[in-house]
Protein backbone atom coordinates (compact mmCIF):
# COMPACT_ATOMS: atom_id res chain seq x y z
CA UNK A 1 0.00 0.00 0.00
CA UNK A 2 2.74 2.39 0.99
CA UNK A 3 4.76 2.37 -2.19
CA UNK A 4 1.55 2.85 -4.14
CA UNK A 5 0.64 5.84 -2.05
CA UNK A 6 3.83 7.67 -2.98
CA UNK A 7 3.21 6.96 -6.63
CA UNK A 8 -0.28 8.34 -6.41
CA UNK A 9 0.88 11.56 -4.88
CA UNK A 10 3.36 12.08 -7.67
CA UNK A 11 0.69 11.29 -10.21
CA UNK A 12 -2.22 12.89 -8.45
CA UNK A 13 -2.98 15.18 -11.37
CA UNK A 14 -5.27 13.50 -13.89
CA UNK A 15 -3.11 14.62 -16.80
CA UNK A 16 -0.06 12.73 -15.60
CA UNK A 17 -2.01 9.83 -14.16
CA UNK A 18 -3.88 9.08 -17.36
CA UNK A 19 -0.89 7.73 -19.37
CA UNK A 20 0.48 5.94 -16.30
CA UNK A 21 -2.84 4.15 -15.81
CA UNK A 22 -2.80 3.31 -19.49
CA UNK A 23 0.52 1.52 -19.00
CA UNK A 24 -0.62 -0.24 -15.85
CA UNK A 25 -3.86 -1.66 -17.21
CA UNK A 26 -2.26 -4.32 -19.51
CA UNK A 27 0.20 -5.33 -16.78
CA UNK A 28 -2.52 -5.97 -14.24
CA UNK A 29 -4.74 -7.61 -16.82
CA UNK A 30 -1.94 -10.05 -17.58
CA UNK A 31 -1.34 -10.75 -13.88
CA UNK A 32 -5.07 -11.26 -13.38
CA UNK A 33 -5.42 -13.68 -16.29
CA UNK A 34 -2.41 -15.72 -15.20
CA UNK A 35 -3.30 -15.89 -11.53
CA UNK A 36 -6.95 -16.65 -12.10
CA UNK A 37 -5.95 -19.29 -14.68
CA UNK A 38 -3.57 -20.98 -12.27
CA UNK A 39 -6.06 -20.58 -9.43
CA UNK A 40 -8.89 -22.16 -11.40
CA UNK A 41 -6.67 -25.04 -12.47
CA UNK A 42 -5.64 -25.64 -8.89
CA UNK A 43 -9.18 -25.42 -7.60
CA UNK A 44 -10.50 -27.91 -10.13
CA UNK A 45 -7.64 -30.38 -10.53
CA UNK A 46 -5.11 -29.98 -7.72
CA UNK A 47 -7.18 -29.39 -4.63
CA UNK A 48 -8.39 -32.68 -3.15
CA UNK A 49 -12.05 -33.56 -2.96
CA UNK A 50 -13.47 -32.72 0.43
CA UNK A 51 -14.43 -35.95 2.22
CA UNK A 52 -17.49 -34.39 3.80
CA UNK A 53 -18.78 -31.99 1.17
CA UNK A 54 -17.76 -33.71 -2.07
CA UNK A 55 -17.00 -31.74 -5.24
CA UNK A 56 -19.52 -29.02 -4.63
CA UNK A 57 -17.30 -27.31 -2.10
CA UNK A 58 -14.98 -26.15 -4.90
CA UNK A 59 -17.13 -23.06 -5.34
CA UNK A 60 -15.55 -21.61 -2.23
CA UNK A 61 -12.45 -20.90 -4.32
CA UNK A 62 -14.51 -18.24 -5.99
CA UNK A 63 -16.77 -17.44 -3.07
CA UNK A 64 -14.24 -16.70 -0.35
CA UNK A 65 -11.87 -14.55 -2.46
CA UNK A 66 -14.85 -12.60 -3.81
CA UNK A 67 -16.06 -11.99 -0.26
CA UNK A 68 -12.58 -10.85 0.80
CA UNK A 69 -12.34 -8.53 -2.16
CA UNK A 70 -15.82 -7.12 -1.58
CA UNK A 71 -14.77 -5.93 1.86
CA UNK A 72 -11.26 -4.94 0.88
CA UNK A 73 -12.46 -2.77 -1.99
CA UNK A 74 -14.79 -0.89 0.34
CA UNK A 75 -11.86 -0.14 2.60
CA UNK A 76 -9.76 1.02 -0.35
CA UNK A 77 -12.63 3.27 -1.41
CA UNK A 78 -12.77 4.68 2.10
CA UNK A 79 -9.05 5.34 1.91
CA UNK A 80 -9.47 7.29 -1.34
CA UNK A 81 -12.48 9.09 0.06
CA UNK A 82 -10.57 10.26 3.12
CA UNK A 83 -7.64 11.30 0.96
CA UNK A 84 -9.92 13.25 -1.33
CA UNK A 85 -11.66 15.07 1.50
CA UNK A 86 -8.44 15.95 3.29
CA UNK A 87 -6.20 16.93 0.37
CA UNK A 88 -8.94 17.97 -2.03
CA UNK A 89 -7.35 15.99 -4.87
CA UNK A 90 -9.55 15.37 -7.86
CA UNK A 91 -8.14 11.97 -8.65
CA UNK A 92 -9.17 10.43 -5.31
CA UNK A 93 -12.85 10.89 -5.96
CA UNK A 94 -12.49 9.40 -9.43
CA UNK A 95 -10.68 6.39 -7.98
CA UNK A 96 -13.41 5.82 -5.41
CA UNK A 97 -16.18 5.96 -7.99
CA UNK A 98 -14.28 3.74 -10.41
CA UNK A 99 -13.89 1.07 -7.73
CA UNK A 100 -17.53 1.01 -6.66
CA UNK A 101 -19.01 -1.08 -9.50
CA UNK A 102 -16.25 -3.69 -9.13
CA UNK A 103 -16.82 -3.84 -5.38
CA UNK A 104 -20.55 -4.24 -5.89
CA UNK A 105 -19.89 -6.97 -8.44
CA UNK A 106 -17.68 -8.96 -6.05
CA UNK A 107 -20.29 -8.56 -3.32
CA UNK A 108 -22.91 -9.87 -5.67
CA UNK A 109 -20.68 -12.78 -6.74
CA UNK A 110 -20.02 -13.62 -3.11
CA UNK A 111 -23.75 -13.69 -2.38
CA UNK A 112 -24.59 -15.62 -5.50
CA UNK A 113 -21.91 -18.27 -5.10
CA UNK A 114 -22.85 -18.45 -1.45
CA UNK A 115 -26.38 -19.33 -2.49
CA UNK A 116 -25.09 -21.96 -4.93
CA UNK A 117 -23.00 -23.43 -2.19
CA UNK A 118 -25.76 -23.26 0.36
CA UNK A 119 -28.25 -25.20 -1.73
CA UNK A 120 -26.38 -28.55 -1.72
CA UNK A 121 -24.80 -28.00 1.72
CA UNK A 122 -27.71 -26.66 3.73
CA UNK A 123 -30.57 -27.54 1.41
CA UNK A 124 -31.59 -23.92 1.04
CA UNK A 125 -30.54 -21.02 -1.17
CA UNK A 126 -30.42 -18.53 1.59
CA UNK A 127 -29.95 -18.65 5.33
CA UNK A 128 -29.97 -15.61 7.52
CA UNK A 129 -26.46 -16.34 8.60
CA UNK A 130 -24.55 -13.43 10.12
CA UNK A 131 -21.99 -13.32 7.32
CA UNK A 132 -24.50 -13.57 4.52
CA UNK A 133 -26.59 -10.85 6.08
CA UNK A 134 -23.60 -8.56 6.54
CA UNK A 135 -22.61 -9.18 2.96
CA UNK A 136 -26.11 -8.30 1.81
CA UNK A 137 -25.97 -5.04 3.73
CA UNK A 138 -22.58 -4.35 2.18
CA UNK A 139 -24.22 -4.70 -1.22
CA UNK A 140 -26.82 -2.13 -0.15
CA UNK A 141 -24.05 0.25 0.87
CA UNK A 142 -22.37 -0.12 -2.52
CA UNK A 143 -25.66 0.41 -4.34
CA UNK A 144 -26.43 3.46 -2.21
CA UNK A 145 -23.07 4.97 -3.11
CA UNK A 146 -23.58 4.32 -6.81
CA UNK A 147 -27.13 5.70 -6.69
CA UNK A 148 -26.03 8.84 -4.87
CA UNK A 149 -23.26 9.54 -7.35
CA UNK A 150 -25.63 8.86 -10.21
CA UNK A 151 -28.12 11.40 -8.90
CA UNK A 152 -25.61 14.26 -8.67
CA UNK A 153 -24.67 16.03 -11.88
CA UNK A 154 -21.86 18.19 -10.61
CA UNK A 155 -18.72 16.04 -10.48
CA UNK A 156 -17.12 17.84 -7.56
CA UNK A 157 -20.23 17.53 -5.45
CA UNK A 158 -20.70 13.89 -6.38
CA UNK A 159 -17.11 13.09 -5.40
CA UNK A 160 -17.36 14.77 -2.04
CA UNK A 161 -20.85 13.58 -1.19
CA UNK A 162 -19.86 10.04 -2.16
CA UNK A 163 -16.73 10.28 -0.05
CA UNK A 164 -18.73 11.34 2.99
CA UNK A 165 -21.17 8.50 2.48
CA UNK A 166 -18.37 5.94 2.29
CA UNK A 167 -16.76 7.24 5.44
CA UNK A 168 -20.06 7.11 7.30
CA UNK A 169 -20.44 3.56 6.00
CA UNK A 170 -16.98 2.56 7.18
CA UNK A 171 -17.72 3.74 10.71
CA UNK A 172 -20.97 1.83 10.53
CA UNK A 173 -19.68 -1.45 9.11
CA UNK A 174 -18.22 -2.88 12.34
CA UNK A 175 -21.39 -1.90 14.20
CA UNK A 176 -23.54 -3.51 11.55
CA UNK A 177 -21.38 -6.61 11.53
CA UNK A 178 -21.49 -7.12 15.29
CA UNK A 179 -25.15 -6.32 15.59
CA UNK A 180 -25.94 -8.84 12.87
CA UNK A 181 -23.74 -11.41 14.57
CA UNK A 182 -25.46 -10.89 17.89
CA UNK A 183 -28.87 -10.96 16.26
CA UNK A 184 -27.90 -14.22 14.58
CA UNK A 185 -26.72 -15.96 17.73
CA UNK A 186 -29.94 -14.94 19.47
CA UNK A 187 -32.04 -16.51 16.75
CA UNK A 188 -30.52 -19.94 16.81
CA UNK A 189 -32.80 -21.23 14.06
CA UNK A 190 -30.38 -22.55 11.48
CA UNK A 191 -27.29 -23.70 13.29
CA UNK A 192 -25.01 -23.64 10.29
CA UNK A 193 -21.89 -21.67 9.92
CA UNK A 194 -19.92 -20.72 6.86
CA UNK A 195 -16.60 -21.26 8.58
CA UNK A 196 -14.50 -24.07 7.27
CA UNK A 197 -12.38 -24.11 10.39
CA UNK A 198 -9.36 -26.35 10.68
CA UNK A 199 -10.50 -28.85 8.08
CA UNK A 200 -8.92 -26.72 5.39
CA UNK A 201 -5.74 -28.14 3.91
CA UNK A 202 -2.89 -25.85 2.98
CA UNK A 203 -3.38 -26.50 -0.74
CA UNK A 204 -6.90 -25.15 -0.44
CA UNK A 205 -5.64 -22.09 1.36
CA UNK A 206 -3.01 -21.49 -1.33
CA UNK A 207 -5.59 -21.82 -4.07
CA UNK A 208 -7.80 -19.31 -2.34
CA UNK A 209 -4.91 -16.91 -1.93
CA UNK A 210 -3.96 -17.18 -5.59
CA UNK A 211 -7.54 -16.61 -6.63
CA UNK A 212 -7.80 -13.64 -4.31
CA UNK A 213 -4.65 -12.11 -5.77
CA UNK A 214 -5.97 -12.73 -9.25
CA UNK A 215 -9.26 -11.03 -8.38
CA UNK A 216 -7.30 -8.22 -6.83
CA UNK A 217 -5.29 -7.67 -10.01
CA UNK A 218 -8.50 -7.84 -12.01
CA UNK A 219 -10.08 -5.19 -9.77
CA UNK A 220 -7.09 -2.90 -10.26
CA UNK A 221 -7.10 -3.37 -14.03
CA UNK A 222 -10.81 -2.71 -14.34
CA UNK A 223 -10.76 0.25 -11.95
CA UNK A 224 -7.85 1.83 -13.77
CA UNK A 225 -9.44 1.56 -17.17
CA UNK A 226 -12.64 2.91 -15.69
CA UNK A 227 -10.81 5.83 -14.12
CA UNK A 228 -9.26 6.56 -17.50
CA UNK A 229 -12.73 6.94 -18.97
CA UNK A 230 -13.79 9.16 -16.10
CA UNK A 231 -10.72 11.34 -16.54
CA UNK A 232 -11.40 11.71 -20.25
CA UNK A 233 -15.02 12.58 -19.63
CA UNK A 234 -14.33 15.18 -16.97
CA UNK A 235 -11.31 16.76 -18.59
CA UNK A 236 -12.65 16.75 -22.12
CA UNK A 237 -12.31 20.51 -22.43
CA UNK A 238 -8.67 20.69 -21.46
CA UNK A 239 -5.85 21.00 -23.95
CA UNK A 240 -3.98 17.91 -22.81
CA UNK A 241 -6.96 15.70 -23.61
CA UNK A 242 -7.43 17.21 -27.05
CA UNK A 243 -3.75 16.56 -27.75
CA UNK A 244 -3.99 12.86 -26.91
CA UNK A 245 -3.30 10.55 -29.84
CA UNK A 246 -6.41 8.43 -29.24
CA UNK A 247 -8.64 11.48 -29.01
CA UNK A 248 -7.34 13.10 -32.19
CA UNK A 249 -7.87 9.97 -34.17
Amino acid sequence: MNSRLINWFKFSSPASFYPLAGKMVPVFTLIAVMLIGVGLYMSFFVAPTDYKQGEGYRIIFVHVPAAWLSMFIYLVMAFWAALGLVFNTRLSGMMASSLAPTGAMFTFIALWTGAFWGKPMWGTWWVWDARLTSELILLFLYLGFIALQGAIDDSRRSDRAGALLILVGVVNIPIIHYSVKWWNTLHQGASVSVTQGSSMSSIMLWTMLIMALGFWAYAIAVALSRVRSIILERERDTTWVSELAEVRR
Binding site: L85, A151, I152, A161, L164, L165, L167, I175, I176, L186
Partner: protein
Protein backbone atom coordinates in the same frame (compact mmCIF):
# COMPACT_ATOMS: atom_id res chain seq x y z
CA UNK B 1 -23.53 28.67 21.03
CA UNK B 2 -26.27 27.29 23.22
CA UNK B 3 -28.44 30.30 22.35
CA UNK B 4 -28.09 29.47 18.68
CA UNK B 5 -29.07 25.86 19.40
CA UNK B 6 -32.14 27.05 21.26
CA UNK B 7 -33.00 29.61 18.59
CA UNK B 8 -33.05 26.96 15.86
CA UNK B 9 -34.92 24.51 18.07
CA UNK B 10 -37.53 27.10 18.99
CA UNK B 11 -37.88 28.28 15.41
CA UNK B 12 -38.50 24.81 14.03
CA UNK B 13 -40.98 24.01 16.79
CA UNK B 14 -42.92 27.20 16.10
CA UNK B 15 -42.93 26.38 12.39
CA UNK B 16 -44.21 22.89 13.13
CA UNK B 17 -46.99 24.23 15.31
CA UNK B 18 -48.03 26.61 12.56
CA UNK B 19 -48.00 23.83 9.99
CA UNK B 20 -49.32 20.86 11.87
CA UNK B 21 -50.06 18.65 8.89
CA UNK B 22 -46.42 17.57 8.63
CA UNK B 23 -46.52 16.12 12.12
CA UNK B 24 -49.69 14.19 11.48
CA UNK B 25 -48.69 12.66 8.14
CA UNK B 26 -45.77 10.85 9.74
CA UNK B 27 -47.79 9.68 12.68
CA UNK B 28 -50.69 8.60 10.51
CA UNK B 29 -48.36 6.66 8.23
CA UNK B 30 -46.91 4.87 11.23
CA UNK B 31 -50.34 3.94 12.57
CA UNK B 32 -51.57 2.71 9.19
CA UNK B 33 -48.51 0.59 8.45
CA UNK B 34 -48.67 -1.10 11.84
CA UNK B 35 -52.39 -1.72 11.48
CA UNK B 36 -52.01 -3.20 8.00
CA UNK B 37 -49.89 -6.14 9.11
CA UNK B 38 -52.64 -8.09 10.88
CA UNK B 39 -54.76 -7.66 7.76
CA UNK B 40 -52.03 -9.21 5.67
CA UNK B 41 -51.01 -11.94 8.08
CA UNK B 42 -54.18 -12.91 9.84
CA UNK B 43 -55.65 -12.14 13.21
CA UNK B 44 -54.12 -14.99 15.16
CA UNK B 45 -52.82 -13.46 18.37
CA UNK B 46 -49.96 -15.88 18.82
CA UNK B 47 -48.38 -14.92 15.50
CA UNK B 48 -49.09 -11.26 16.04
CA UNK B 49 -47.45 -11.29 19.43
CA UNK B 50 -44.38 -12.84 17.81
CA UNK B 51 -44.01 -10.29 15.05
CA UNK B 52 -45.15 -7.21 17.00
CA UNK B 53 -41.70 -5.86 17.97
CA UNK B 54 -40.38 -6.17 14.44
CA UNK B 55 -43.47 -4.70 12.84
CA UNK B 56 -43.60 -1.68 15.13
CA UNK B 57 -39.90 -1.05 14.73
CA UNK B 58 -39.84 -1.40 10.95
CA UNK B 59 -42.87 0.88 10.72
CA UNK B 60 -41.13 3.45 12.92
CA UNK B 61 -38.07 3.22 10.70
CA UNK B 62 -40.10 3.78 7.53
CA UNK B 63 -42.12 6.59 9.08
CA UNK B 64 -38.97 8.39 10.13
CA UNK B 65 -37.66 8.10 6.55
CA UNK B 66 -40.84 9.77 5.33
CA UNK B 67 -40.17 12.98 7.20
CA UNK B 68 -36.47 13.16 6.43
CA UNK B 69 -36.66 14.65 2.99
CA UNK B 70 -38.11 17.88 4.32
CA UNK B 71 -35.58 18.21 7.12
CA UNK B 72 -33.28 20.57 5.23
CA UNK B 73 -35.14 20.99 1.93
CA UNK B 74 -37.38 23.81 3.13
CA UNK B 75 -34.51 25.77 4.64
CA UNK B 76 -32.57 25.24 1.46
CA UNK B 77 -35.40 26.56 -0.66
CA UNK B 78 -36.02 29.77 1.28
CA UNK B 79 -32.37 30.61 1.88
CA UNK B 80 -32.28 30.23 5.65
CA UNK B 81 -29.88 27.32 5.24
CA UNK B 82 -27.36 29.72 3.70
CA UNK B 83 -27.66 31.89 6.77
CA UNK B 84 -27.04 28.89 8.98
CA UNK B 85 -23.96 27.95 6.97
CA UNK B 86 -22.63 31.49 7.33
CA UNK B 87 -23.58 31.98 10.96
CA UNK B 88 -20.63 32.41 13.30
CA UNK B 89 -21.63 29.24 15.14
CA UNK B 90 -20.39 25.70 14.75
CA UNK B 91 -22.67 24.29 12.10
CA UNK B 92 -22.95 20.97 13.90
CA UNK B 93 -24.62 22.73 16.84
CA UNK B 94 -27.23 24.21 14.54
CA UNK B 95 -27.68 20.82 12.89
CA UNK B 96 -28.18 19.29 16.30
CA UNK B 97 -30.84 21.91 17.00
CA UNK B 98 -32.65 21.03 13.82
CA UNK B 99 -32.40 17.31 14.48
CA UNK B 100 -33.70 17.77 18.02
CA UNK B 101 -36.70 19.66 16.71
CA UNK B 102 -37.21 17.06 14.00
CA UNK B 103 -37.21 14.28 16.57
CA UNK B 104 -39.62 16.13 18.86
CA UNK B 105 -41.97 16.68 15.94
CA UNK B 106 -41.81 13.33 14.17
CA UNK B 107 -40.06 10.88 16.49
CA UNK B 108 -41.62 11.52 19.87
CA UNK B 109 -45.24 11.17 18.69
CA UNK B 110 -44.37 7.74 17.29
CA UNK B 111 -42.82 6.72 20.58
CA UNK B 112 -45.91 7.79 22.48
CA UNK B 113 -48.26 6.13 20.02
CA UNK B 114 -46.38 2.83 19.93
CA UNK B 115 -47.69 1.29 23.19
CA UNK B 116 -51.22 1.86 21.96
CA UNK B 117 -50.43 0.01 18.75
CA UNK B 118 -48.68 -2.68 20.76
CA UNK B 119 -52.01 -3.37 22.44
CA UNK B 120 -53.42 -4.29 19.04
CA UNK B 121 -50.83 -7.02 18.99
CA UNK B 122 -51.64 -8.22 22.47
CA UNK B 123 -48.24 -7.39 23.94
CA UNK B 124 -47.91 -7.67 27.70
CA UNK B 125 -47.53 -4.55 29.82
CA UNK B 126 -43.93 -5.46 30.48
CA UNK B 127 -43.21 -5.76 26.75
CA UNK B 128 -44.97 -2.48 26.05
CA UNK B 129 -42.74 -0.79 28.58
CA UNK B 130 -39.63 -2.15 26.88
CA UNK B 131 -41.01 -1.15 23.48
CA UNK B 132 -41.49 2.39 24.74
CA UNK B 133 -37.98 2.59 26.17
CA UNK B 134 -36.36 1.05 23.12
CA UNK B 135 -38.13 3.48 20.80
CA UNK B 136 -37.28 6.36 23.11
CA UNK B 137 -33.62 5.44 22.83
CA UNK B 138 -33.65 4.38 19.20
CA UNK B 139 -35.66 7.03 17.36
CA UNK B 140 -33.18 9.85 18.16
CA UNK B 141 -30.50 7.71 16.52
CA UNK B 142 -32.74 7.29 13.47
CA UNK B 143 -33.17 11.07 13.23
CA UNK B 144 -29.44 11.65 13.65
CA UNK B 145 -28.38 9.08 11.06
CA UNK B 146 -31.18 10.15 8.76
CA UNK B 147 -30.00 13.76 8.86
CA UNK B 148 -26.76 12.68 7.15
CA UNK B 149 -28.73 11.18 4.29
CA UNK B 150 -31.04 14.19 4.08
CA UNK B 151 -28.04 16.50 3.85
CA UNK B 152 -26.32 14.39 1.20
CA UNK B 153 -29.38 14.26 -1.04
CA UNK B 154 -30.34 17.91 -0.57
CA UNK B 155 -31.83 19.37 -3.74
CA UNK B 156 -31.43 16.21 -5.82
CA UNK B 157 -34.06 14.83 -8.13
CA UNK B 158 -35.84 11.93 -6.46
CA UNK B 159 -34.16 12.80 -3.18
CA UNK B 160 -36.92 11.23 -1.13
CA UNK B 161 -36.39 7.71 -2.42
CA UNK B 162 -32.65 8.10 -2.51
CA UNK B 163 -32.49 9.15 1.11
CA UNK B 164 -34.16 5.89 2.17
CA UNK B 165 -31.76 3.91 0.03
CA UNK B 166 -28.80 5.53 1.74
CA UNK B 167 -30.08 5.64 5.29
CA UNK B 168 -31.95 2.37 5.76
CA UNK B 169 -28.86 0.11 5.63
CA UNK B 170 -27.14 2.36 8.15
CA UNK B 171 -30.09 2.07 10.50
CA UNK B 172 -30.02 -1.72 10.65
CA UNK B 173 -28.16 -1.91 13.99
CA UNK B 174 -30.77 0.35 15.59
CA UNK B 175 -33.51 -1.89 14.26
CA UNK B 176 -31.79 -5.05 15.44
CA UNK B 177 -31.22 -3.88 18.99
CA UNK B 178 -34.52 -2.01 19.23
CA UNK B 179 -36.73 -4.85 18.13
CA UNK B 180 -34.37 -7.31 19.80
CA UNK B 181 -34.88 -5.66 23.18
CA UNK B 182 -38.62 -6.20 23.02
CA UNK B 183 -38.24 -9.77 21.78
CA UNK B 184 -35.72 -10.55 24.50
CA UNK B 185 -38.10 -9.19 27.09
CA UNK B 186 -40.98 -11.26 25.71
CA UNK B 187 -38.92 -14.44 25.64
CA UNK B 188 -37.59 -13.79 29.14
CA UNK B 189 -33.96 -13.35 28.14
CA UNK B 190 -33.77 -9.87 29.59
CA UNK B 191 -33.66 -6.69 27.56
CA UNK B 192 -30.90 -4.81 29.41
CA UNK B 193 -28.06 -5.78 27.09
CA UNK B 194 -29.93 -4.61 24.01
CA UNK B 195 -30.89 -1.35 25.62
CA UNK B 196 -27.30 -0.67 26.60
CA UNK B 197 -26.20 -1.29 23.03
CA UNK B 198 -28.95 0.99 21.79
CA UNK B 199 -27.76 3.66 24.21
CA UNK B 200 -24.20 3.28 22.97
CA UNK B 201 -25.33 3.67 19.36
CA UNK B 202 -27.26 6.83 20.23
CA UNK B 203 -24.23 8.31 21.96
CA UNK B 204 -22.00 7.51 19.02
CA UNK B 205 -24.54 8.96 16.60
CA UNK B 206 -24.87 12.06 18.76
CA UNK B 207 -21.12 12.50 18.58
CA UNK B 208 -20.48 11.84 14.90
CA UNK B 209 -23.70 12.39 12.97
CA UNK B 210 -23.89 16.20 13.41
CA UNK B 211 -20.32 16.51 12.14
CA UNK B 212 -20.99 14.33 9.10
CA UNK B 213 -24.26 16.17 8.47
CA UNK B 214 -22.63 19.59 8.54
CA UNK B 215 -19.89 18.43 6.19
CA UNK B 216 -22.56 17.05 3.86
CA UNK B 217 -24.55 20.30 4.04
CA UNK B 218 -21.50 22.31 3.03
CA UNK B 219 -20.99 20.02 0.06
CA UNK B 220 -24.64 20.07 -0.97
CA UNK B 221 -25.30 23.78 -0.58
CA UNK B 222 -22.55 24.88 -2.95
Amino acid sequence: MFEAYLAILKRDLILAVRRRSDVFTTLFFFVIVVSLFPLGIGPELKTLRLIAPGVVWVAALLASMLALERLFAVDYADGTLEQMLLAPQPLSVLVLGKVTAHWLITGLPLVLMAPLLGLQYDLSIEALKVLLISLLLGTPALSLIGAIGAALTLGLRGGGVLVSLLVLPLCIPVLIFGAGAVEASVSGLGEVGHLYMLGAIVLLALLLAPLATSAALRVSAE
